[in-house]
Amino acid sequence: MIDLQVELPGLKLKNPLMPASGCFGFGREYSKFYDLSLLGAVMMKAATGEERSGNPTPRVAETSSGMLNAIGLQNPGVAKIIKEEVPFLANYDTAVIANVAGSTVEEYEEVATKFNQTSDVHALELNISCPNVKEGGIQFGTDPEMAKHVTEKVKQASNKPVYVKLSPNVSNIVAMAKAVEEAGADGLTMINTLTGMQLHLPSRRPLIANKTGGLSGPAIKPIAIRMIYEVRQATNIPIIGMGGIQTAEDVLEFLLAGANAVAVGTANFQNPLILPELISELPEVLRKYGFSSVKEAVGKAVIE
């Protein structure tokens, strides 16, 4: 038997696979395709203090081996999410990770405080890396001092374990990871999308209305692997890895680089059954490469 279980701060996962925030809504749509209890966890779409309507359309564009998105954190606001969406996910035997977003430190604190009041949320993912909103989001994710400050404040506002989502749009990812580790982060999730742009030749205009968007999909996987590897060498807190995962072999690659668990985002769009398929395929891939458990593979990249 291959052991898929993973234990992380606040999270007892039956397997290391979960949907990435923003690619899965609050689970309702994909629950029509399969039983969400199959999943290790669900990472909910970002929550802000108040409802946000997001950016103008078009909000997505396909790229070579990926896609750009600029949704702009559209969400019904934390109160409605706790009232309407969290109870829905509580029907399933899976861990629930709430994604906390905001424009100001106070808003992050407010959202974290509210999620702290529900026992159906098991951990927080601190979204300091959304590239698609004018205020907040990414600037907290590109300045180590600001990242440290907001992490400390959210830690104080909540008893729940806090996983900080790191942006790859920085020159020194290790400095960011160390800053939030010092601030008390219980874990890291990485990577968020890379800021990109694509032009439509006939009109000479950007393909998405926000001009720039976050690049995701297999195009960014090597960057995610490199950054997870670098951060694994320099920090001790667990990492939930993400960025272009499409196959069970990709999952193993993330584990080897140092991820303790993984999230799948963009790949859900092309194949709504990708997560249950990867969960069923992972044991065979682990066995094939000589591992008897997920835990055993973590950080086992041989790099001399």
Binding site: G22, C23, F24, G25, R28, E29, Y30, K32, F33, K45, E51, S53, G54, T57, P58, R59, V60, A61, E62, T63, S65, G66, M67, N69, I71, Q74, G217, P218, T266, N268, F269, Q270, N271, P272, L273
Partner: protein, 260 residues
């Protein structure tokens, strides 16, 4: 009035559809006939399916142009717009295509309330109206169709719509049928209970303004991400405030429900 059949997406499933026939029916316009035993059983007029092409990141949402339930056959019409649709146009009969659906809501049929309806399609917005028109006709409702295209080389399904009822073809350049826009032809249809329209946003905006005192349903198009309602890429502002998701709450909306 709200779109009334909002629960279609509850039936979504991932399936493999086998390609039976493929042909170009107008310039860059492809007709595909596919078979499967699930989607052809449950899909309703106005719904669409998502096609997952190998080596692409996003699914291609394509509206259902027709279903023959007895033969388990589904017809899709699409326009070659870029690399993905060009690749899809290159599939040969026998190919198995990864799909999921049926997605979105459907056109409300309102049987018993109507005796005559107007179908108004523009370009590649025409296809979903065909399956709708067939269902309406089956219910004994008189169907009149106005189909607008850029030019004669873009015209398709004229005969098919003519079998449903009186059909007017309009082209922008006058190279076929009437010269002008679908809004010009609407004035030649004296009375109808409701209209159903699908086409470019500019056309829908002009139509819903022109027909503001009529009951109307419009099917919208937008660049989509997940196509199932999870990613919030394809949204449309509503008259009540806030946004609706086109792939999930639509693609069919009551004309007064959304801000185009």
């Amino acid at each position: 009035m709200k779109n009334t059949e909002n629960e279609g997406w509850k039936n979504m499933r991932k399936v493999k559809m086998k390609l039976l026939e493929i042909r170009e029916i107008a310039k860059d316009t492809i007709e595909m006939k596919l078979t499967d035993n699930y989607i052809t059983e449950v899909a309703k007029p106005g719904q669409f399916i998502s096609i997952a092409l190998p080596n692409y990141t996003l699914p291609r949402p394509i509206s259902i142009a027709n279903i023959d339930r007895d033969k388990q056959e589904l017809t899709l019409l699409f326009k070659i717009m870029g690399k993905g649709t060009n690749e899809l146009a290159g599939f040969i009969p026998g190919a198995e295509i990864d799909c999921f659906g049926p997605n979105g809501n459907s056109f409300p049929l309102m049987s018993g309330e109507m005796t005559k309806v107007l179908l108004i399609g523009g370009g590649i917005g025409v296809p979903p109206l065909y399956y709708l028109g067939k269902q309406l006709k089956k219910q004994g409702i008189k169907v009149v169709s106005i189909l607008g295209f850029q030019s004669s080389e873009n015209v398709f399904y004229e005969k098919e719509f003519a079998r449903l009822g009186e059909t007017f073809i309009v082209t922008d350049d006058g190279s076929y049928g009437m010269k002008g826009f679908v809004t010009d032809a609407v004035t030649s249809v004296p009375s109808f209970n409701a209209y159903y329209a699908c086409g470019p946003t500019g056309m829908l905006r002009a139509l819903t303004t022109q027909l503001h005192n009529k009951t109307g349903y419009i099917s919208l198009e937008e660049r989509m991400g997940c196509t199932v309602g999870a990613c919030a890429a394809c949204v449309i502002p509503t008259t009540e405030g806030g946004y609706k998701k086109i792939c999930h709450d639509g693609p069919v909306f009551a004309a007064e429900e959304v801000i185009l």
